[in-house]
Symmetry: D2
Subunit: 415 residues, 4 copies
């Protein structure tokens, strides 16, 4: 079943690139957590095509509609969301959607309609004679489904499915921030061969006070603002400029570029994470490493740890905490309180305008040339928010798992 | 997580009684299965309040909107469903919904808006001073959620949540009927103290040919028609009349009645069902027995088997099949091909107009009197379709589980 | 996967009737819970064939071996369990097993070897010419597995698999008793046509003080002792005598009898249980109703509720609690604090000595006569402990689920 | 719950480093698959400490005992495994274990006793004054469990837990090899700063015939033999020698080294793998990337893809298959039939003999010096078999998931 996270906090998603909508159900939102449409929309806006000038030219409004799981006594404020109407004018039904309220503990459902669809862009790919885009799922999904897959825009395999990830991630990070001051960030650190000279891991190390291992809320807020203000969501303004130029240049050539992103949870709740087979490390490597177009995932020192000796790689421990973060915030899959840090590598966007060798779905060989269609020349540019969201979902689930083992008898008082 | 069925075929649901909508995601619809909005709407109409003259006076349109998981090359027919509009006129977005297509194998999402809400009906129950309806979840849900539960109409505990069950059940029964000629039926066999003189179990026994254990499609269709035409969805017209009269009488008195329903899958696929801890018997007893207001669930001979001797209760076996169906179509949790038969007992509707002893949510004692609100005097009247749906979901999942153990190498041909 | 309960507290089981052992892994035992081999063995002894003079003559030692998930600093006491030796004398490896310790939070594994096996008893059933016992899984399991099922003693479908249920249930009830004074009991209330004149539901009602809804520990201990001392684990000594006589008489005739059992959790933790699709009612109906040979399961008033009017069936509520327990301790699948009460109906044992019409596995018709083999003339006699165990497992899981929603920041203190 | 893989093929494990045994239950073994103790033991022997001269000096016999889920008519051959005895001589029970048989479809349980334990090695770490080994889970597991974790040898976090992975992986690879000629291999490609000059990815590319994308069974067998014969399980003999020397040198210095391993499934079944949230890519990245001591996981071109342009990175497609394997055998999480290839990076072993800054569990600062204990100077040396096993488990589960969507009506024939 199409569930990300869980068993306590997780999200179910549905919807294809060119279908009517992406539908999302979030499970496990703690009763009493206050959320608003705007608080989630803010993150959805970062995911949206068109939100970056270097992303796809596709423009989507991606307006969030909340449909369940919230309540507050002031039902006027509760139901101040945009109205939904179903049916034609003469026999339509219109209902208001939710704007703001407290989680009731029941599943939170959300809808995002898909506005900008040009079916003619995808006629090239339809049916058994449809052409196969190299690097995409067209061929395998067609044969796996015996021809019934939706060929429009990659169907469900479209990056548009990550709307569900971001909605669930947003609720999780609101919870984590409120209770633990956890802040989740990402920074692009490589675009094609260009590398950032600053890393998030180093910056966070610098931000910690000498006697303390946590980062101040103010400093984190500044860091967030500076990342959001950056041209390509990176710490390093020099790198941002050269990467942006490389992307523009690559787009002109009809080609594409890979990218690498650091993602971090700062001030994560310590001591959460299951052991072994469901460890938080396993879950994060899967969730981040399993995202569209990802080819590599690292935690802490990552592949650089291979070259080190144990005496260099073990982080010393003092009363104030771990003196270094080569472990990346996880030991044995349990959080240490140091920032949780991953680095994720994306392949260059598969859709390019240059001619390529390919086949039709029936395996007839062709010289493939993409006729039309919108796409990102560098998928990494937009992916940070999704990585942040997936990290938040897994961290949230781990917190609830850990809480389940703490017995609070007051939770059972009725009469 | 709010999932019914699974892990291969299951449904996630969200939405409260008085919220904007019930949202549903169905997982595991086999690629290539043709479904239409109308094919599902037909079953939803049976569930709808107001569909029976003996049910609640609440009127809901319960119009099904399909949002994902379908495709066909003729996208005009695919997208011939009702349009959905989000936002106010000046900045609205309108998209068409799906009407008919083949399952792509991806999750099928569906939306049903909630039209008929009168919030003033439920002011009596809001807040910590809110009154507690005996027999309802008001008190426990309030304290379990520390006051954050949605009090309107029972919130998520409302019977309205079963829209999701019916949508998923409908797709399952379309599949089961197409491939196995499986037909799923129910018949009310008791209302209060009044009992039907005909049982579905006996009728199905009679319908089987002497040398065969399966029922003819024509005979089953007639049986379905006769049940759907019945005043209260029962085989027995005499019983239907007296039960209908008893319900009217009880409604006049402001009281309510229990009911008992037989539900059956005729011509079920043989040999499906997991062993022991996930056995189809365990799953069915849970899914049917766990429905709102249910207090008992029986399979086959049910509690009557207790009084029998083994020599009376074992069904003899001949080359043509089991000669009797005291086992109810399941042995060791595996289907034998005999009709799968359960009987489910519902308590009388908890909402009554008579005064009762109760408390406020803060435990202050009160003399409770229901002020307003719509309700069924006998919840059993509408429950048959939900039981049928839950049976279909579990049976479908069991078929897929069984198939997973049959290796078909042709399923792996690509190049 | 063969998992009972979960996702937080659950048990995985493996092992066939005539295989070397039943293997059990229990997940979710809370760190710090003290358990001992003897504390679990006590319940296993109640399950064991031969523990009742009315059960099967098969004698099994059913000695519990604990292999993981426990620890205490005094490793001598920790490892004071029976030694296990693997291999022949000359190259054997012997290790001690665990006797007593604190749960570490890691999975608890347990082994119970199977001693008393007479393979010649089951030659009648082996291979494609093997005979099919009416009422058993022989035929369906053979064809479902394409001939690879273990035919000896019913293979995995044997009641012997319930050893895993009892081990997991024992740990759960130790936890529930320690923290909530919850006591889990069962009483046989019907054997064939004979009914007990006392019910557990009534007795528990009587035991509650006038101003209180909970039962005193002393009174409960007396009740437990009296049930364990009873000839057939029932409250009613007169019924016990006549039922025992009926069982003896039935055994002489080579026939078998059904039975019905009440099972209850007294002083259950209030406010636990998920809503709807994973509700505690759904889980209990499935887990209890899905046990071997069960044909019916009822909660609270059960099928008797069908005949009642709402004004009779709703339990009044006062400041001290629910004034009656027709709801059986659950409303909307959430515990109210009133005793959780179910009644479960078992069919008569399928194995009888009388001749019956049957087939071979290849469907050749035969006159079937059981040649040898040990069996219970009334499976209900031994089933109470398994029902109690399954109830404990589900209740324990529900407690942990509820706790997961209570945030205790102290659980995250490290540095 | 401690489950790896699933929902159709998965494994539950239990057992700590210094406990009596590792207990394993494997779910979803297809009925009819023939397995033998020896066929699994062969892989367990590769995992065993002491199996490599460069691994830990700890010597374990790791003798596999099979306890359930197998059957064959020749019960003498079935039960020809080593005998297990429980209890002291005077009241012991001895049963034979399984040696060889066909999977019945029921769970396969296995036991591996732990022989070589020297508790005095770990006194240094016990109790609240116990010392914390940098890089290990000692501190977080102690506080997460509120002091109840088993401190001996890392408790459940020990690498010894991977016995369960290897047992389940072995059964999976027997199935995959039998039906698809799938062969699963690994090769160490880096030890500390030393890199192999040959990669498994390149070698497999070379082994494919010009018109075909599959590798011949003979060539694969030779490759397997050469890997198993290698001093450190690598393709490159020159690298093997220098890496072995580096490991010896590092051991002398009391320090440790990281390593990197390529793992591949050659001739994998095409078209398997779920979409998106449970995609085979997500599952593999999690399962391989979540193993003890892993800090990075890559698929196909891995992090090298970041630097490429799309026109370089997309693999061309011809009628015969993908002309290159930068995609690593997965597109959109679905297998293409090209070898599935991952590369996994391990940190240097955390246990070193050099002094380090650390704390006691109560956070008192200490200069930490490991007193005794056995360990690998380079954990990567033994990890290949576990990576292969985890890959096999996920691939097997994906095959069963794919099969579940293919309807074979013959699977339902009974009467």
């Amino acid at each position: 079943m199409e569930i990300l996270g869980g068993p306590l906090y997780g999200v179910a998603g549905a919807g294809e690139s060119h279908g009517p909508a992406i539908t999302t159900i979030v499970f496990g939102c703690p009763p009493g957590l206050r959320i608003s449409r705007q608080g989630i929309q803010r993150y959805l806006d970062r995911r949206r095509p068109g939100s970056s000038k270097h992303g796809t030219p596709r423009r989507e409004q991606d307006r969030l509609i909340l449909l369940s799981g919230l309540y507050q006594a002031d039902t006027d404020r509760l139901t101040a969301g945009a109205p939904i109407r179903v049916g034609d004018a003469d026999q339509a039904l219109t209902v208001p959607s939710y704007d703001e309220g407290y989680c009731s503990g029941e599943p939170v459902a959300a809808l995002v309609l898909s506005s900008s669809k040009r079916p003619q862009d995808y006629e090239q790919f339809a049916g058994p004679e449809g052409e196969v885009r190299p690097g995409h799922t067209d061929l395998v999904k067609h044969h796996q489904s015996r021809g019934y897959a939706d060929p429009r825009g990659g169907g469900r395999s479209s990056y548009r499915s990550t709307i569900s990830d971001v909605i669930a991630g947003s609720i999780a990070r609101i919870f984590l921030r409120e209770h633990f001051r956890t802040v989740i960030l990402s920074s692009i650190c490589q675009v094609g061969p260009l590398k950032s000279s600053l890393t998030l891991a180093d910056r966070l190390e610098d931000m910690q006070g000498p006697g303390s291992r946590s980062c101040s809320p103010d400093a984190l807020e500044n860091l967030e603002d500076s990342l959001e203000g950056s041209e390509i969501h990176t710490l390093d303004p020099t790198f941002a400029r050269s990467a942006a130029e490389a992307i523009r240049e690559t787009r002109r050539k009809g080609d594409s570029l890979g990218a690498s992103i650091e993602v971090a949870a700062v001030n994560p709740p310590p001591l959460v994470g299951e052991p072994l087979y469901q460890s938080l490390k396993l879950r994060l490597m899967g969730s981040l490493g399993g995202l569209h177009a990802v080819q590599s995932c690292e935690i802490g020192a990552g592949s650089a740890a291979v070259e080190r000796r144990g005496s260099e790689n073990n982080d010393p421990i003092r009363r104030s905490g771990y003196q270094g973060n080569r472990h990346g915030g996880l030991l044995g899959g349990v959080t240490t309180g140091s920032p949780l840090i991953c680095r994720v590598g994306f392949k260059p966007t598969s859709s390019i305008l240059r001619p390529q060798q390919s086949v039709r779905k029936n395996l007839k060989e062709i010289e493939f040339k993409l006729k039309m269609g919108r796409h990102d020349p560098c998928v990494g540019i937009r992916a940070g928010i999704t990585l942040e969201s997936r990290l938040a979902i897994e961290l949230m689930n781990a917190v609830l798992m850990h809480q389940s083992r703490r017995l609070d008898l007051k939770a059972h008082q009725l009469f």
